[in-house]
């Protein structure tokens, strides 16, 4: 840890200025040092340029908001900012997960009404579609059965309905 180096101490002073006096000049100085590095870290973690930029800004905003919680005895400035950036990235991943792929497409509305009901039910509890899939009289060919185990639901509701129609 580079806790003892003069630059790190300078940064700690900047954070305390933000915490005590809401000092915008101190924040600007800190932003110029750390925001580009946080963005670089986000890009290394697989984010694209826009997302990395947004996450870097969110991180620096959190630095402003949490400045009073910074304890120079416990961690260096860069370590503290790293943990904030890490938490921001985890939160962003959380928001992006689970896009609802089961909403019916408008052009699928003409399909059999029963299939629509099954899709609606499986949206509620992911259950009944599976029940139908293991029943012998609605069973799929073995190759499709194998892939259905690794995938939660068929890619589009249309392919699902095609199986139903047979």
């Amino acid at each position: 840890m580079s806790q003892g180096s003069p630059t790190s101490d300078d940064h700690a002073v900047l954070i305390q200025a933000i915490a005590h006096r809401r000092d915008r000049a101190a924040f600007a100085a800190l932003f110029r040092v750390f925001a580009p590095r946080v963005k670089a870290w986000m890009i290394r973690g697989g984010a694209n340029d826009t997302a990395a930029e947004e996450l870097a800004q969110e991180t620096m905003l959190a630095v402003w908001q949490k400045a009073a919680q910074f304890d120079p005895g416990r961690a260096g400035v860069s370590t503290w900012i790293f943990t904030i950036a890490r938490n921001q990235r985890v939160d962003a991943l959380r928001r992006e997960r689970h896009p609802d792929t089961l909403l019916p497409d408008p052009d699928d509305m003409v399909g059999p009404a029963l299939a629509d009901r099954v899709v609606a039910m499986s949206e509620q509890r992911h259950g009944y579609a599976r029940l139908w899939r293991v029943c012998p009289w609605t069973r799929q060919p073995s190759s499709a059965r194998h892939s259905s185990r690794t995938r939660r639901m068929p890619k589009s509701s249309r392919s699902f309905r095609f199986r139903w129609a047979r």
């Binding site: 600007a28 925001a35 800004q57 890490r86 579609a129």
Partner: protein, 203 residues
């Protein structure tokens, strides 16, 4: 006395924020109870800080600073409310499903997280074991109370189990107390009749 800890790669992944939410939750539960792992975590985060210092900077858009300064008076994001005051810290803000029986004397209750992997509480009565199963991915367990034993030894309250590969024998409750664990499994495949039931209810 906690004797079983997460592996270093697991802690490093947690410190870097690359674990999926379900896995991170179980690691966080252990870290909350283990001073030793908290120290390791602080060391890992210090490594992250040094890494951050030494990364080549990537320039931001020209008005990035103004954008952030315009937002500094916004209220900070609110913390989700405590839903389960009986559970330790990272688990208390996660919504729970209902209890489901999984085999004799074993119950499972889902924690609603996002991303891959199922995470849930497992409550086992003394002398009972988890049904035989295999996994396609990682399986992490943190014991909250009681103890369980599997082919690798005994795990007591606070211990963290991270078996590599499938169990020689499924984990069984050890001692006279019921055992409550938080368990996350990537691609657990139950065997036998329960496996059929698992596929039928779509878990």
């Amino acid at each position: 006395m906690i004797t079983r800890h997460p592996s270093d790669p697991c802690l490093l992944a947690y410190a870097a924020g690359t674990l999926p939410e379900a896995l991170a939750l179980v690691v966080a539960t252990h870290i909350g109870r283990c001073a030793c792992c908290r120290q390791t975590l602080v060391a890992c985060e210090a490594v992250g800080g040094v890494l951050l210092d030494q990364l080549p900077p990537v320039s931001l858009s020209v008005n990035a600073l103004e954008t952030v300064l315009a937002r500094v008076d916004e209220p900070a994001a609110t913390v989700p409310p405590v839903l389960n005051p009986d559970l330790p810290a990272p688990l208390d803000r996660i919504a729970l499903g209902r209890w489901w029986p999984i085999g004799r004397g074993m119950r499972w209750r889902r924690l609603r997280t996002e991303g891959p992997g199922w995470v849930g509480l497992v409550l086992g009565q003394p002398g009972r074991a988890l049904p035989p199963h295999g996994h396609d991915g990682r399986e992490l367990t943190c014991v909250l109370s009681g103890a369980f034993a599997d082919g690798d030894g005994v795990f007591r309250a606070g211990d963290f189990a991270e078996p590599d590969g499938d169990h020689d024998q499924p984990p069984a409750v050890w001692g006279a107390e019921p055992c409550l664990c938080v368990l996350v499994s990537e691609g657990m495949q139950l065997r036998g009749m329960l496996g059929l039931a698992q596929r039928m209810i779509g878990l």
